[in-house]
Subunit: 161 residues, 2 copies
DNA sequence: TGAGTAGGTAGTGATTCGCAACTTAAAAAA
DNA sequence: TTTTTTAAGTTGCGAATCACTACCTACTCA
């Protein structure tokens, strides 16, 4: 991929994120991992991905610290790929994309669905919230440079001391 | 791209979403659109993308209804690409991915940042919330099939009638 | 009418992709 | 112990996609 102009490359997490997740299969492999798959052959037969591409993508995800690669102690041929903390942190992005696909492409809810273990109720739609918890649409927001942002005035209760 | 096995292909919005957004440049073009860019040359000079690839991606995003293509009335050479409702709905996914990149790749906040127009405070981190608003981590959730989910018992106030 | 500009196409070589066949090392079976 | 099976890759090859440069075509403006 060509290089971005500096001001769009250095200061935004998106190109950085795409460095590891910008390839088509990466998301699907990761989704399978979130669904509890751990082994090469599981990914391969479930996704129908070519073996060399799968090997390449798993390697890349491991290189980026998104998956951890570990031979199983009881059968050292078996390699377990499991999500790292960094990989697990991609869940909101994955879900947001999946939910978008449900609403705007397939028109139906996906299965299976993530539920809160506590009460088995489905999670909310991923959305954008203001600092005080209101849901925001694109029209409710604008772009500011970091230095333009004023710290929030807190109710000064324990302040002065 | 090869075809997925049916049970992973038909019932999930993610592969559907990747059909339009699975290519590397798509996210970056869309980010530029969210940042207020509207014209071919703006995208080209800002992103440094090859012209034919840009033309191809813009066309594809238009085909998928994510961008709308409209010649400007005052100068009909000029074409305006603007986000459709469907395109704007990708913002949570884009932000989630960008925030992930900030935390796990660049290690610094991106600029510019989205703020609530009302109070100019930055938005919250995109996260996963339970139906009643608690923030959930991966360990707090599990997968269920749709038919296994029981409707939530509501406090029966106006129920019986 | 001629110059400039916005938005694209065309040609070309490098890279990536998907498929099938092969490899390697460990485990299980005989 | 030898043979077979299995998990996880690697290799080779043709097809598709990519990026780079140059060219093209409307339309506008002087």
């Amino acid at each position: 991929m060509g290089e971005l102009k500096e001001d769009l490359c250095l200061d935004c997490g998106l190109p950085a994120a795409l460095e590891s997740m910008g390839e088509r299969w990466s998301f699907l492999i990761l989704r399978a991992a979130f669904n509890g798959l751990h082994h090469f052959e599981e990914f391969q037969s479930t996704l129908g991905i070519a073996r060399n591409i799968l090997a390449n993508r798993l390697g890349r995800l491991v290189d980026h610290g998104i998956l951890a690669r570990e031979p199983m102690p009881d059968d050292r041929r078996k390699i377990e790929y499991r999500l790292t903390e960094k990989g697990a942190a991609l869940l909101p992005a994955m879900l947001a994309l999946r939910q978008w696909g449900e609403v705007w492409e397939t028109g139906m809810p996906s299965t299976p669905v993530l539920v809160d273990t506590r009460d088995e109720q489905p999670i909310r739609k991923v959305s954008i919230l203001s600092h005080d918890g209101r849901e925001l649409q694109l029209g409710d927001m604008c772009w500011k440079h970091t230095h333009e942002i004023k710290p929030l005035e807190m109710p000064r209760l324990q302040a002065v001391a």
